[in-house]
Amino acid sequence: MIRCRQFVVLGIACVLSASSVLKCERGWAQTAGLPGKVHYLLDSRQAPGVVAGAQVARRAPGVGTFQALSISGPTGLKVALARDGQFLPPLEAPVTTGMLVGAVYRFRVTNIPLRPGAELYPTVEVIDRLYAPAGREHRFPIPVVLTEEDLRSALAGALVTRVIYLEDSEVAEPLAQLPGQQRTTDVGPADNALQTADQLGRPVAIMRIGSRVPANLTGDLTAFLYGSPPWVPLKPVPDQKQMVDSGQWAEIVPAEQVEQPFPQTPTQNYPRVPMSQ
């Protein structure tokens, strides 16, 4: 009987000590203002449509609206979009379209450099949108870049997943980026690329290039094309150099360093005039 009481007392002490430890841990976490553990529910290795479905389920802003995307790749690459369960005739990249946020699109890629006859069927999962100024939405498409390395890896049987994210301008890397280029961060197969992208910015799209091919191209491709969600064709937007050459954009010539460029304070009657003129 006495031994039994000792066990009871010892057990109560253990429970109290364990609860105090848990309370201390929770108290530290609340004091620090950070969650003790963070678990990312979504993963880039999940099937296409899972992340977009979660965005639809949580009623994320932008779901159901069109977002401009630009599919680009090596020179000569051809992209065929799907509509009504069938692939359309291919177009030469870059191809700019408006795709629905919260949908999965599959397209066919042909005319791959140095791989004649080979074709791939990547998917693009649009999970978020941009908030461009009104009327300028088509000028800022989400760049979906198909590099030669990615295409080569996919043809070799690998699955290449690219989570495209929007960089936070205030913490962005101070590296120059030319038009058409995209800075890429590689992660291992065991990592969550979606989590990494979420820490670097805001994920907006997921592209997967795998070796999956349809069983019968002339058959029912509804499941293979994820229901062929609608998309909107968009005109390609010229870059600044093309607009300057066509006279639609004022060319800014970098000013030269001079001792006293202004005769007086610039006013309406004496505006700033570049010294090169």
């Binding site: 969650p35 963070v38 929007l166 960089e167 101070p174 293979f224 005109k235 600044q240 700033r272």
Partner: protein, 432 residues
């Protein structure tokens, strides 16, 4: 599909019932088992029997499967607080609502190749007008911590994207004035690449998972972004103070409003018996009396009054000398009166574009300001083009790297800025 919880209670009931009704058990044990069985029966489990259990179990599991197939929108947390794991959805930052009219990037359904606003109702509805600060490049203003000037005329707290001017007044006061914040819409994208093998690829593209997506357990939509900054357009009018001359030239209080001293009223006591005081009028015969009592009153009752006798005769006293009617006090306050404004040549830009910035500063006060220094710490997305800066006044310019890989531009204005004087500074940057 694991065995669901509702099927476990009938199994327990059947086990207890079989054990309780076995003959040969002691009466006390039998009563205890039967009491347990009765309590279970009253709780609802006793309505089942062992033969109906498989059907009920499959029914419950089927219902559970159908219920799980329908993705719930809002359900309790997955972990049910059995540990401290927090479920964080990807891209949880909510955009900032903005009052600009809704932009229309919609499909009109007529095969239009442009995304112009639709005049007629179309599907889907126009996108809500919202902005996201991550898509903008900001330059200007003074973010926390604010800029502080040391005694050695060096500054601390100049964070990236800050643009301030600090100067000294004639009274020695050090003033710091930030500019307005200039937003430029210039989103930049990156990619995280992951290459997996063929086995994982075959599993990752399994189509059956698309039909039954794993639904989120909880998404906390109330976690709004706390540090999202509204990309306000530049409002130069809000930064402009009124001309200080109108504010500072306050008219002094007229001396007529000053309450006279008490002794002046006491001097009127001898006059109370005269008609001029009692009746409000004056006659010729009282003029001499009035003159006498007035003189006496000033002699007797005003302590500062001085009676002067020269050779036995009273000297003439001037008691009605004129005085100043109004007193104007001009105060020249030592006030921070610099007005500074910043503008950009473009509101949207792509990587590689050149954007020109202009900073306009003026002395809106009534005193000259000296030792003015304009500091602009650029965003990491902006690269200063060497030799592109221009200034309308004589300055000493320097460009030093800042902590985010860009530059800190500094203009030290050599000459003091006089009243109603100012200048302009411009420079070019390339968007990264």
């Amino acid at each position: 599909m694991p065995q669901s919880t509702p099927a476990a209670s009938p199994s327990l009931f059947a086990f207890l019932s079989s054990r309780a009704c076995r003959p040969g058990q002691p009466l006390r044990r039998l009563l205890s088992w039967c009491s347990v069985s009765a309590s279970l029966a009253l709780s609802g489990c006793g309505t089942l029997n062992t033969q109906t259990l498989p059907f009920r179990s499959s029914l419950n599991s089927t219902a559970a499967t159908e219920k799980r197939a329908d993705p719930p929108l809002r359900q309790p947390a997955v972990a049910q607080a059995n540990d401290q794991t927090a479920v964080v959805p990807v891209g949880y930052e909510e955009p900032v609502s903005y009052e600009e009219p809704a932009g229309a990037f919609v499909d009109c359904g007529d095969g239009a190749l442009d995304c112009q606003p639709c005049a007629t109702p179309c599907d889907p509805v126009p996108a809500p007008a919202m902005r996201n600060a991550q898509e903008y490049i900001f330059d200007g203003g003074d973010q926390q911590p604010t800029v502080v000037i040391r005694k050695d005329w060096s500054q601390v707290g100049v964070d990236p994207t800050d643009t301030v001017v600090y100067y000294e007044t004639l009274g020695g006061q050090v003033c710091v004035q930030p500019t307005n914040r200039v937003p430029i819409y210039a989103p930049r994208f990156g990619a995280v690449r992951q290459v997996t093998g063929a086995f994982l690829a075959a599993r990752a593209v399994g189509a059956e998972r698309i039909l039954v997506p794993v639904s989120p357990g909880r998404f906390d939509d109330t976690d709004l972004a706390g540090t999202v900054k509204q990309p306000l357009a530049p409002h130069g009018e809000q930064q402009i103070n009124l001309i200080d001359a109108f504010q500072e030239n306050a008219v002094g209080t007229p001396i007529a409003q000053i309450v006279p001293p008490l002794r002046m009223s006491e001097a009127l006591v001898p006059l109370e018996g005269s008609d001029s005081i009692g009746l409000g009028g004056i006659t010729d015969d009282e003029i001499a009396v009035l003159g006498r009592v007035l003189q006496n009153a000033r002699t007797w009752f005003v302590p500062e009054s001085l009676g002067v006798m020269i050779s036995g005769q009273q000297a003439t006293m001037v008691v009605d000398s004129k005085r100043a009617q109004d007193i104007f006090v001009y105060e020249m306050p030592d006030k921070c009166a610099m007005r500074i404004c910043k503008t950009a040549s473009h509101t949207i830009a792509n990587p590689g574009d050149v954007v020109s910035f202009t900073i306009r500063f003026d002395n809106a006060g009534v005193k000259p300001l000296g030792n003015a220094v304009i500091v602009d710490s650029l965003s990491p997305r902006l690269d200063y083009i060497e030799g592109s800066q221009q200034s309308s006044v004589d300055v000493r310019f320097s460009a030093e790297p800042n902590e985010v890989g860009s530059q800190v531009l500094t203009w030290e204005i050599v000459d003091p800025i006089g009243k109603n004087e100012g200048g302009a500074i411009s420079f070019d940057c390339r968007v990264r």
